[in-house]
Symmetry: D3
Subunit: 162 residues, 6 copies
């Protein structure tokens, strides 16, 4: 029996140790959005699409997405979220193009931050809007998706500069 | 006992009936991406980040994301995917800004399309890159995320015009 | 080495073989419900509870519950549901007691029935109503929960006698 | 660009913030049950059904249901349960009708109660009994399902009045 | 903007395309096992452990493990299993060492084999036995775990030579 | 109405109460492995298999397996893991047989140990190697799988004697 080789150290994904970090209240907010046609905008506002109430469903998808983040992102630590919320706001970018801005807000009392939970929540909500409106056309575009701000934790607060 | 009210029909999300649609081979490709700093770019290329091999992990996250799409997106039908793949490509947008383009490709033999699976796969891969590089800075931006093309199904093929 | 014993055959749960059953369109409808106080009724109708829109959320919970049935019920076969829907209707049973009747409807093209999916969908919707209204009092009662009817499959149609 | 509208505030489901609540030991017990025919009763007691040991399987389904509650109920907080148990008891209601009473008991050391976990555990156990006995007839009825009592937390103890 | 590099092709995990494979009935059987002390053996046979009925729980864990295989093994295709079963048998290897042999059997009508489902089912059952007996000592050893045989599919049948 | 019987107490699986146990840092390491042919060995080392990078994928499967342990093993308590890692090492056992040794390491700050998480992580990694190499032959054997050591908790440290 011989020890054949050291494996390439580059393949070594790991879930880094956070057991020394302290429990504090941490928050994060992220933003995503989706550009939709006037037809989709009307369906969303009037609830006339074949799949039903778009924003109520996307709201639930965003919150459950926040809860499932460690299931979707392989190296994310599981966390017991204290709270999660999603907000939608319309902007009109061009005559027949509507942009639905999506803001997620996640809170935890724990030993690591919730940036990924906020980003995943916003992404899941945007994907759900796409799913429910795609019979009106597939040219919708999701994003940009980014972190707005975070508070709590040793690395300090973060506020994105616009 | 009295029947009190018809509920507001607007709240009626539903998973629409696809039992009459026929089983055919269907494909979809979607694109997402993420803008990262030079430091993150170097970590990804040289595998020196604390969380390990970024692209190999994002690749797995993308494929498992495709498989879990009906778990992320409330009204998506469960599907037995035939295949899924993710590809990465770097573009340099500005002197110190790097853009990682992410293309997903999903295939099924079934009675509904896989657009959502492709979009979810690309989103999960992008979120995983963010997670593994976020110690280098939180200014990364994900997206735009959109459908490149689809084939198969009664509604015909789709190719996004660039 | 000795063969010590035949294990008690009674412990042998199994997922029974359905590979010989034929693919046909099958449907099932189930009913559940929940008795709530006037305060909860008002919150649901006016959307004034702290957790938000009760019925829209319960609707999503019911549909996702149908999709996850084989994850909740150990010996249920996984199925690719073709469609799922939930309907709510109010009945007033006593001066200050309101009964929310919940009807689920599930459809599949497959080789086993969807009775469990319909029952699970109705149960998940009822539990979600409980969760969202429990700050108004914990005396709510869920049920009875039962199968209304099913169609398709070798065992024939079923209609519950009221 | 114009801000088009305030969305209907009624659609705003949210997972309410519990980060200020304190960690204490909390318990909850719930009850459900199922009415079965004499044939099903005999199968359960003698372990002669085609799907095997009904109560052992329902017991496991109840416990895993408690653990997955935040996956079933969209706005439930994820919790690290400290313990869970299920108990069954037969009652004979009429000559040929048997009622299987199901009691769940769940415990946590955390900052929110486990009422939903107890209710979900009892529901999952009852649904599993239905699944394993449904070849004997589909007239079984689940419920009523309700909270028996809870202890711990700021809102104080609760004991249902029978 | 410049195309910077071809990524290392070695990192490219993919879920290979099976859409051209035909639907046939496929089966697989796998074997695992666990070596336990006399104390654990007695607990299992007499049901006196603090966690309850070991084999009934391991049976359920094995079957649900078969159903969840595509969730645990990243590149496994999702499959709608037609049936799954687990069998246990005791062997006495040395005066105070008992070996519980675990055989899983999985069946599908589909376009790819169920070897991984059988191996995962047997592994999940063995891990569950370990979990339920570990208060009697942690020296238990699981395995070897291997495929016994498979039938169906283009690559033909396989029977392991002992 | 009559109370018919005490159910067989043996069927009573339960998730035992750990609410009185104290939160401390706990670790566990487990080992598994897989015997592969020279062809599979070469594919793994050179990345030439049709499913791509075996070890990077198995690494991710092991870590996500650790996180999902309470979903695989029915009576395991859910835990918020602080860290998880997997290491691979080759041994050559015979001229044309290669053994890939797999070591998992899991850490938590919590009130119960992580032995099951370490064992499940190692098992999931081994199963993933099997899946990715099975086109080279199905004679691969997984295991033995066992606990190497654990630290923390009232029951004290454990080190397996080789």
């Amino acid at each position: 029996m011989a020890d054949l080789s050291h494996l390439n150290e580059q393949e070594r994904a790991r879930m880094v140790d956070i057991s020394e970090k302290t429990d504090t209240v941490r928050t994060a907010r992220a933003r995503s959005g989706i550009t939709v046609s006037e037809e989709a905008y009307t369906q969303i506002e009037e609830g006339t699409g074949e799949k039903g109430n778009v924003l109520a469903t996307a709201q639930v998808a965003g919150i459950t997405g926040a809860k499932k983040t460690s299931d979707w992102i392989p190296l994310c630590h599981p966390l017991m979220l204290s709270g999660a919320d999603i907000q939608f706001e319309w902007e009109q970018h061009e005559p027949d193009t509507y942009y639905l801005s999506i803001t997620s807000e996640v809170k935890v009392k724990g030993n690591t931050g919730v940036e990924m939970e906020a980003l995943t929540a916003a992404s899941a909500a945007a994907l759900t809007v796409y799913d429910m409106c795609k019979s009106t056309g597939k040219d919708m575009t999701i994003g940009p998706t980014y972190l707005l701000d975070k508070t709590g934790g040793k690395s300090g607060d973060y506020h994105r500069e616009s």
